[in-house]
């Protein structure tokens, strides 16, 4: 109990003193996970929408694959990304192992199926005739898709929250492909793991609290937008 209190006190000390290292780690976490979520939003929404709107052989299989992907274990993603991008791997020439780029790639891979699955379900949940109604009003195919995406904006915002929440709190892949390098690829989760193993529980708790606050603030912002869109 004393440890937790100490940790909380330490957390506020670190936050209020704008400890440059902690601020750096926090900002980096936000940037990496934000970028990864942003990328996953593009890929996830476009593929999710495409799958929802087209009929093809094996569609059910594809949908179950996407749904399975929503629960991709981060360490498995980390492992495969590592194998792909290490020096002797097929993408080794990119030289991005142990860089924030690699973390973005891994986190985007984790978040994409989440965003894809939710957007797929969102588009499928729209009334089946809505598509035809929009086309009949003279929309081009692109205009139609855009209207459908806009119409699903509430679940899509939920998808962004789920994706961001998944990657900012993820540690397995980040530590494998990022290496937890000080001042370069150390993010809140990997730093928390390291401080725990060093026995610096107060700092670990502080980092954990900052992570929670960050996740909370981002979700608060998105919920705010969502609720403004949807009065009542």
């Amino acid at each position: 109990m004393e440890l937790i209190v100490q940790g909380i006190i330490k957390a506020f000390e670190l936050i209020l003193s704008f400890d440059p290292e902690v601020m750096g780690i926090t900002w980096l976490s936000l940037q990496i996970s934000g970028t990864a979520t942003f990328i996953s939003l593009f890929i996830g929404v476009s593929i999710g929408t495409m799958v929802a709107l087209t009929n093809f052989r094996g569609k059910r299989l594809v949908i179950s694959l996407i749904n399975t992907g929503m629960g991709l274990p981060p360490v498995v993603v980390g492992l495969f990304v590592t194998i792909l991008i290490w020096r002797s791997g097929p993408l080794g020439f990119l030289e991005i192992l142990y860089t924030p780029y690699a973390m973005i790639v891994a986190q985007a891979i984790i978040a994409t199926p989440i965003v894809m699955g939710i957007s797929l379900a969102a588009i499928q949940n729209l009334p089946p005739n809505l598509r035809l109604q929009i086309l009949s009003l003279g929309a081009s195919r692109l205009q139609m898709v855009w209207v459908l995406i806009k119409e699903s904006r509430l679940p899509l915002l939920a998808a962004v929250m789920a994706g961001f929440g998944g990657v900012i709190s993820e540690v397995g892949a980040s530590i494998m492909v990022g290496g937890n390098i000080k001042g370069y690829s150390r993010v809140l989760t990997t730093a928390t793991v390291m401080e725990t193993s060093k026995g610096n529980f107060d700092i670990a708790i502080a980092l954990g609290i900052i992570l929670l606050i960050l996740a909370f603030l981002v979700n608060l912002l998105l919920t705010q937008v969502q609720q403004r869109q949807h009065p009542r």
Binding site: G34, W86, Y98, T99, P100, K150, K182, Y184, G199
Partner: protein, 288 residues
């Protein structure tokens, strides 16, 4: 997209995201050519030694060191695949094999500290003050007292296995023998929580002492020396490895100035040094 200019929500989100992304892009503009991947043991990172040494090295040479702190076993596995450029490890037998097989070159002695056997104050196996480490392990086994092993093929773990072998005890599958698969710091935490015994390096133990309910029970045995070598990955075998950077780092580690820093590291905080610089010495002369 003139028709949806009123979608303020989407535009706001996009701008926010772009800000984050562009900020990120700036930050990642780290030196690309002059990267060195250092595979090392958790003990060097967890003790804080690297946090002191690396900035000096980076400032001096302009290299950017990416430290991947893992067990010695994994560090050497990385070296074996050419995924690291230089290694700072403490698993002498595996290191010799590694160099003999041509994966590494220029293995040089850097420093040592020592292993200690730590355990709870109650000391059920009554090993406090026992001089021989193998004797102490035998007593733990006899008493069926809980022993926590890292079980991760790290330098500490191979040292521990070597000691069990010398003691003539096979602890595998024994009820009193548990493996964490974690780093030194976490294993110490686990040991402390479970009131068990474990083999630890002195540096990590001292750094974490304040949070542990563990005492040093056995120390000073010559068999407990923990010796760190720096090894450059053979860049003729792995052309992608940064041979020059590795050499620069290895030379930095054995340089006089660095050895001085190692000597004084930790004195202010723990009252005694965590590591003893040994550059240029012979392994046989250590601990005398």
């Amino acid at each position: 997209m003139k028709m949806f200019r009123n979608s303020r929500l989407i535009i706001t989100l996009m701008i926010a995201a772009l800000l984050v992304v562009s900020g990120a892009a700036n930050l990642y503009a780290a030196p690309k050519q002059k990267n060195i991947i250092l595979a090392t043991t958790t003990s060097t990172q967890d003790s804080g030694l690297l946090d002191v040494l690396l900035p000096v090295f980076e400032k001096e040479t302009g290299y950017f060191v990416k430290t991947i702190a893992v067990g010695s076993g994994q560090a050497m596995a990385m070296g074996q695949k050419g995924e690291a450029d230089v290694m700072l490890v403490h698993s002498p037998d595996a290191e010799k094999k590694f160099v003999a097989e041509g994966y590494g070159i220029n293995r040089r002695l850097v420093m040592h500290n020592d292993f200690i056997i730590v355990g709870p104050g109650a000391d059920a196996a009554k090993i406090k003050g026992v001089k021989s480490s193998t004797e102490a392990l035998k007593q733990i086994a006899m008493a069926n007292a809980l022993f926590i092993s890292r079980g991760d093929n790290s330098g500490t773990n191979s040292q521990e296995k070597k000691l069990w072998k010398a003691a003539g005890v096979n602890p595998e599958n024994q009820k009193w023998y548990q493996q964490t698969g974690l780093g030194m710091g976490q294993t110490l935490n686990v040991t402390s929580e479970k009131k068990g015994y474990t083999l630890a390096d002195r540096g990590t133990y001292l750094a974490m002492k304040k949070n542990l309910a563990l005492n040093i029970l056995v120390e000073g045995d010559a068999a407990l020396l923990n010796i760190y070598h720096v090894i450059e990955v053979n860049s003729t075998k792995w052309p992608k490895a940064n041979g020059e950077g590795a050499k620069a780092f290895a030379e930095f580690m054995v340089s006089k100035r660095t050895q001085e820093i190692i000597k004084s590291f930790g004195v202010d905080k723990f009252g005694s040094p965590l590591f003893f610089p040994d550059a240029g010495k012979k392994v046989e002369d250590l601990g005398k």
